[in-house]
Symmetry: C2
Subunit: 495 residues, 2 copies
């Protein structure tokens, strides 16, 4: 590859690293008054990133590269990703982009204020700006069917409502059916098995660090901090930052969040280090990223195999668990109960939380609904799909940070991640017949190595669909996931 | 001012803010494996900074501004500081500057390794690279008398060995004399008054935060973390990061370090916020910065007035102090004892530590001494000026981080800071006759307000010499400081 092109790609990665550090710092260490100037700083570097990605010199070099024969997969991927970024960013005029980025940077603190005061009207004007800005982006970028498709495609090339609608409709029906079936059983309420309260933060820190050690997330190439919302930021593949939010009322929150973020972190740490500086040294799409995180959270963390290894230690760390058997804990971690908050939801109802947000985003982007109507629509969907009343916006539309960060089109990645995770885990199990025995003895290395071999190392070289086809031999297929959910939950509830 | 010029200056400050965050993070949160790529990142943005500061467009705009009539003090300062940066940076070729910055970024970890193994030879090749690189910089920049003058001037415009030599010679003689006089007394060893050991970190954290509250360092616009070496990083004036290094063996270390860093932090937080984006929104020179920090550490923190307010609380926090009277604690914090480590030195011998480094730097830059000789020369100077033997390089030439960061010419700032602090505090006392009563009741506001009015608010608008003349009516004058030291220490030791 041309040396000048290499240099230009490296520069883009440097700005990416700086931005990643700034985002991490904003959610962990930055003092409150720092937010305004941080917003300006983020906007400046986001624009600098945009300028670099859309520079005519870079595009000329990329076009030149594209004309060559015998391109490597890495080179093909560089051409694909830079062209994609270019297509998206180049059409956004600077006098729109910088003020919009500043609006976004300020929206988070208004969202936080709205949450503190449980007053959604504080946040709605910001949300309107973000929706309008994104509608404008869709116009600038251009679309064939709906504006929302622009953002689905942004998170995963080729994704569209046309592809997602039938997938999500099928999953929605199945999940609603599973919930109804479970609600008709007379079994005990599994969600009440794990006692609440009195899980000291210090013990939870010990647990989180032990879990990182077990899954081999390297603390020499990353760290684990605290923030309001658990998040993973990769500054470089040698410097991957995870956060959790300690909840002294419930160890399970942090137990699952640490494994979830650890799953993201393993992906980033295990990318081929030579990809740093090519713009490909990060996960290929949020859906594959979420398949990694949700696999470690759910397929691993909620499994009887892993619990049979780690639960005795949990009982040591939290003595209040000593009279709860392994079998009970397994049921407690695998209850299915409609509830208000996405991040605390069980595996089944989680999808309904996501599908509600997917439907809301379609409405926000493709229709002209006044923002004041959105909380009502949200609440109605919770009633319809989950059968519950939303008592306040704090427990409703204000619960997620995403829209305040203009992350529209992101939510579907979570459920896509779960679908991919099931497809991948099914192959892993077939290829590793001793998987259950290994995990039961705390040996996670075969899983991590398999993931490294098949996914991690490639960074962004392959698209999600290329990866899934290569590994599983089929396209995205929601049936694996539906079978996984039915098998597990009907078994737990004796159905 | 021209809008385009404003934009260009703002960009320079954005890069400065990003660099500041990266430096802070490197010393607090970055995992060990992150260091190599962080070095590349710092080098990239340092070069980006250099490119922006030396861009022909910027210099043309600055030259244009300089031709205008009725320039404000701010505009004059912008012209002065940009021209100074330009003169220094423009002559450094990129193929020298970037590799040199990478060498520097790697030197710190070699210095740390040398410390861990107490083997100076691990660090010496890096030190040689840094000395040679700086000699080359001096050649590129040009000088009239000696290469070292280039770096003195870099930290404070107009500073030179010609100006410092007589000042430091006088101070050296006086400090050596004070130490000798004190050593001839038969009084008790004041350095043994404060018991060692058992100062829990958690209590020290409470103390540090209380001290920040008392001096009004805003925790909404800054924070206080832990790092191996206490340091202040200003990301913006709304986001000022302090660190201390908790030492459970001695509360006084952290007590003084917190006030010292707090003094730096107050300066940065109280700069006129309108200066952000002009390149003037930071302290005007390290010497004035050190006058602020050393004033809060020494004139305040070691004073009987402040101790009479805060010592009862210290006794509460650390019960082992309960049988030590206020008078004894005052003597304990104001002992004078030759010792090996600069950062733990008393106020008198501290200057000898600095003057040794000043003399070493002159040798390193102006002579051709093999680096292998430097530890011996260091040790001989400690014998000559402080009368002590250096038992190992870890307690000798390896103790400071500065040279590993290529901070040559920085050390004199500490003693210059002490000299300025005495000059300033003498004026403050004259203008605030109730100062002792105020401080004794924990009312630090008059001092902070006076500093804000006279120094903080101006950021880098005025040079140190302009500020000192404006406030005290005279040039730098070491006699105030010598009188302060004699008065205090002869009194403490009953001489």
């Amino acid at each position: 590859m041309n040396l000048l092109l290499e240099k230009k790609l490296q520069e883009i990665d440097y700005i990416g690293s700086a931005l990643s550090l700034m985002y991490w710092d904003s959610s962990t260490e930055m003092p409150s008054k720092g937010a305004t100037k941080r917003g300006d700083l983020l906007a400046h570097f986001a624009n600098d990133y945009k300028t670099k990605v859309t520079s005519p010199e870079l595009i000329a070099l990329i076009d030149e590269l594209a004309l060559q024969d015998n391109l490597s997969d890495t080179e093909k991927a560089i051409i694909r990703t830079i062209k994609k970024k270019y297509d998206f960013l180049n059409c956004l005029p600077e006098d729109f982009y910088i003020p919009f980025k500043k609006d976004i940077a300020l929206a988070e603190s208004l969202w936080e204020e709205a949450r503190e005061k449980n007053d959604v009207t504080i946040f709605l004007p910001s949300l309107k700006k973000i929706i309008d800005g994104n509608k404008l982006i869709a116009k600038y970028v251009g679309y064939t069917t709906t504006p929302y498709d622009v953002f689905l495609d942004e998170y995963e090339r080729g994704l569209s409502t046309e592809l997602l609608d039938p997938l999500f409709e099928k999953l929605k029906k199945e999940c609603i059916a599973i919930v109804k079936n479970i609600q008709q059983t007379t079994s005990i309420k599994h969600e009440d098995i794990i006692p609440k309260g009195n899980y000291p933060k210090e013990q939870q820190k010990i647990m989180s660090l032990e879990l990182m050690d077990i899954i081999k997330f390297s603390m020499d190439a990353g760290n684990l901090n605290e923030s309001t919302h658990p998040v993973t930021n990769s500054i470089t593949n040698d410097d991957v930052r995870l956060t959790v939010n300690y909840n002294e009322n419930d160890f399970a929150d942090v137990y699952l969040a640490a494994l979830h973020e650890g799953g993201h972190g393993l992906y980033e740490q295990n990318i081929d280090p030579l990809l740093y500086g090519t713009t490909l040294c990060s996960g290929t799409a949020m859906s594959i990223h979420e398949s990694c995180s949700r696999m470690y959270e759910n397929e691993l963390g909620r499994s009887k195999a892993f619990l049979s290894y780690y639960y005795p230690r949990l009982q040591e760390l939290f003595p209040q668990l000593k009279d709860i058997s392994l079998e009970e804990m397994y049921k407690g971690l695998n209850h299915c109960t409609p509830s208000l908050i996405r991040i605390h939801a069980d595996e089944v109802t989680y999808n309904l939380h996501i599908i509600i947000r997917y439907e809301m985003e379609k409405l926000m982007l493709n229709e002209d609904i006044p923002v004041e109507e959105l909380p009502k629509i949200w609440n109605q969907k919770y009633k319809d799909y989950l059968g519950i009343d939303v008592p306040s916006d704090l427990l409703g539309i204000l619960q997620d940070i995403h829209w305040s960060n203009s992350l529209i089109g992101y939510f579907p990645s979570y459920t896509l991640g779960s679908i991919y995770a099931s497809q991948l885990f099914d192959v892993f199990k077939k290829e590793h017949l001793t998987w259950e025995k290994d995990i039961s003895s705390g040996n996670i290395a075969p899983l991590t190595e398999w993931m490294k071999k098949n996914i991690y190392q490639y960074g962004s070289i392959y698209t999600p669909s290329e990866l899934i086809q290569k590994i599983t031999g089929e396209e995205i297929n929601v049936d694996h996931y539906i079978n996984y959910l039915k098998d597990k939950y009907y078994n737990v509830y004796g159905l």
